[in-house]
């Protein structure tokens, strides 16, 4: 391939002229990334608010009269869906994917910048449709984030009039928008890497985001298929999922549909979705740990292979979410086995993180605290996953708080810790200024201990048999009164954690103007995004010449160099690379 001809099309990137083309209708991957991040965090704040409402009800039942059973289910549903799809997926792939892929691969932009811009606006539309469902008659859907039929579309479930339709339409729009972005991420990684950047020299962040995008591209269609069929069941009266059923005393026109079919389709999307969120987190954490331990990542090749293996395996474990649906025992056995097998590459990654820290020159910076916090939390959540992966353990625990505790640890708290760590880490590159370290540490410790105060006791409540999804517990003989005090304590902790996120938001806003100027490479990191000629990088990223890569992404503490790190684009003879002169345009 003649890269010379096509490698450097700087002239073809028409530089944006007006405010509108520069910041609103921008085709620059960095602006689009920040648009994605801000939108995702805004809708994420809504989801945090919803979870606070849930905790108010659970901690102090009967106190808040504006929360009734219907609105409680609406809060549960919207909290779950927003957090999983509209916050985490969008933030990791749309946000960090957009920002990091071109910079870390050494390209000027995504390969299809126009499509990339449309992707964001379609995502925004999906968010707006979702938010609109709060304002329609009947409110948003309260079907639970899994949207299981038949109850999701039957009268009596909150939001059966409008909410469920808007939810399904919003998801369909999201998937269309994501596909546009996802094509960009995959093709950019494959086609637009700078000279010398082989696949095995890519930072693990890019590997994680790349593999997660591949998963998302193949798995989201399953959600689209089920959304289409459910919309038809709801509005045309077809019976894809709807069995013959009575609704509020009347026979519906449906017959013969299979609710189980929906569950298969949903979880065929739903399980890879866990890894769509986890793989970028794995990748980013590997980089944060390596940079802050001033040590190469342990077992780079294995880390890459593990990412690929987890991605492939994640497609054959979906039915472990359905053990309670009454499946053939051999079917359950198969899925329990695959579920336990996927723990092998995952454990391998955990060992490698720990071994990277071992005898490293560990700097407990704010991003490092979050990264280590992630490893802790992920181990906790992962271990309970081994419990739940076994059919016989899962069946009694499935409908209890144990599951709530497990998945919040493993795919709630863990990825959110990475999101925070990653924002603290790359904020200097995005804005040219450092965040306040004291506030950052405060934010970390409050969040870390706070979330443990929330979710550790939930494991215990689950083993007691406390059922999840309940609006109120009522008089249940096996639930002691002390459970209520624990629920109240959990709610107080939850309110505390939510409030402490304000420190984070304040820090981000305050540092924009008052943060210490960061310089080009404040963490003394090797990867390409820290070697841009300007900080924040300008449109086109690299000035007149694209970087050339001479080494892998983890050259820390190599003997014979002045610094303890060697940038990827530093030539072997020690010449200063052309793009190494740092300037700050914060």
């Amino acid at each position: 391939m003649s890269y010379v001809a096509i490698a450097d099309q700087h002239a073809h990137l028409h530089d944006p002229q007006t405010f509108l083309t520069k910041y609103v209708w921008s085709q620059d991957h960095k602006v689009i990334a920040i648009q994605y991040m801000v939108t995702a965090m805004a809708i994420g704040l809504v989801a945090i608010g919803l979870s606070m409402m849930m905790r108010l009800q659970l901690g102090f039942p009967g106190t808040f009269h504006f929360i009734n059973p219907s609105s409680y289910y609406q809060f549960v549903t919207m909290h779950g869906m927003i957090m999983v799809v509209y916050l985490l997926t969008a933030l990791f792939l749309g946000g960090f994917g957009n920002y990091l892929i071109p910079l870390m691969c050494g390209s000027r932009d995504m390969v299809f910048p126009y499509l990339n811009m449309v992707s964001y606006w379609v995502y925004l539309l999906a968010v707006l449709v979702l938010v609109a469902s709060f304002f329609v008659p009947g409110g948003p859907t309260g079907a639970g984030w899994t949207l299981y039929p038949p109850q999701a579309i039957l009268a009596g479930t909150p939001g059966a009039d409008w909410g469920i339709t808007l939810m399904l339409v919003s998801l369909a729009i999201f998937i269309v928008g994501f596909t546009m972005g996802g094509l960009n991420y995959v093709v950019t990684v494959l086609q637009a890497r700078c000279r010398g950047m082989t696949l095995m020299r890519l930072p693990l962040s890019v590997w994680g985001i790349f593999m997660a995008t591949v998963l998302a591209l193949l798995a989201f269609p399953a959600l689209l298929v089920s959304a289409i069929m459910m919309i038809l069941d709801n509005h045309l009266g077809t019976s894809f999922f709807m069995p013959a059923i009575m609704s509020l005393g009347d026979q519906t026109g449906h017959k013969g549909g299979s609710p189980l079919l929906f569950q298969h389709l949903f979880w065929f999307f739903g399980h890879p979705e866990v890894y769509i969120v986890a793989l970028p987190a794995f990748g980013i954490v590997s980089d944060l740990i390596s940079v802050n331990a001033r040590r190469h990542i342990f077992g780079y090749r294995m880390m890459v292979w593990a990412i690929v293996a987890i991605g492939v395996l994640s497609f054959v474990v979906w039915a472990h979410h359905m053990y309670v649906s009454g499946m053939n025992p051999y079917f359950g056995f198969f899925f329990a086995t695959t579920t336990l097998i996927i723990a092998i590459p995952t454990a391998l990654k955990v060992y490698n993180w720990v071994l990277t820290l071992w005898r490293g020159d560990v700097h407990l910076t704010v991003p490092m605290l979050f990264a280590i916090g992630f490893v802790f939390t992920f181990i906790n959540g992962g271990l309970t996953g081994l419990f739940l992966g076994n059919v016989t353990v899962d069946v009694p625990l499935s409908d209890t708080y144990f599951v709530v505790a497990h998945f919040h640890m493993v795919m709630g708290v863990s990825p959110v810790l990475v999101v925070c760590g990653a924002i603290y880490h790359w904020y200097p590159k995005m804005t040219g200024r450092m965040t306040n370290e004291t506030l950052g540490k405060l934010h970390f410790w409050f969040t870390f201990f706070g979330t443990y105060a929330i979710f550790l006791p939930m494991h215990y409540l689950g083993i007691l048999g406390l059922p999840r999804r309940y609006f109120a517990m009522g008089d249940t003989y096996f639930i002691p009164d002390s459970v209520q005090s624990m629920n109240a304590a959990i709610s107080v902790a939850a309110l505390f954690v939510a409030a402490s996120q304000l420190i984070f938001l304040f820090n981000l806003a305050w540092s924009l103007k008052h943060g210490k100027p960061a310089g080009g490479n404040p963490w003394r990191a090797t990867t390409l995004e820290w070697q841009t000629p300007e900080t924040p990088p300008r449109h086109g990223n690299w000035g007149p010449e694209l970087p050339v890569v001479y080494r892998w992404a983890y050259e820390y503490g190599a003997p014979g160099y002045k610094d303890d790190f060697v940038p990827q684009n530093q030539p072997p003879d020690g010449r200063i690379p052309a793009t190494h002169g740092q300037a700050n345009h914060g």
Partner: protein
Amino acid sequence: MNLIVAAVALLAGIFVWWLAVRGLTTKSWEAQGTYDGRDAAGMAGPAAARIGLWVFLAVVSSFFALFITAYLMRMSPAVVKGVDLRDWRPVAEPGILWVNTALLVAGSLGMQLASSALGRGKFELANLGMLAGGFCAIAFLAGQWLAWHQLQAAGYYAASNPANAFFYVLTGLHGLHLLGGLFVWGRAASRMSRGRTATAATRQSVELCTVYWHYLLVVWLVLFGLLLTT
């Protein structure tokens, strides 16, 4: 879900193999300080658009494979505890579908003619092939619309049986994909009708449309076969 597992396993196998041939076993930490000139790529070149299309086709394949899986799962007979739950009443496919299939084949041939003619520099012939490809696709869509009407007239309503519902959904979604292709085709065709020669961008556009036409033909043949045999 057996089918989809097999399909995904196949895709995953191809993907892993493909990654492996691109040097997944390289010990990148040993090869430091050297740049061997391999694996160099650049900005959005012609290759990017082609790979972009193939990745998109993988997504669409996943989409249709999942629909076909749902189809097979929904139609599979179930007799639970002596109660017969089998409710699948096969659709009597209208004969016009054969004509439509022929039209789609003709459209694919037309596009193939267009791209190979452009390759040999025969611009007029390419233009002709392009028009044939597009209009055959439009005629196919009209024919599908007619087939829907015939089914409606014969009393095959979407709500009355899952077989009918799947027929409308699968043909409808296939048609929508073709419609999207026609949008891109329209832009390429109008660019060609204005010029006397084709630029590199136009040539690529025609080439990618051809791939997409062939792909949708294959999808249609699979769907048609499925609808005919069940």
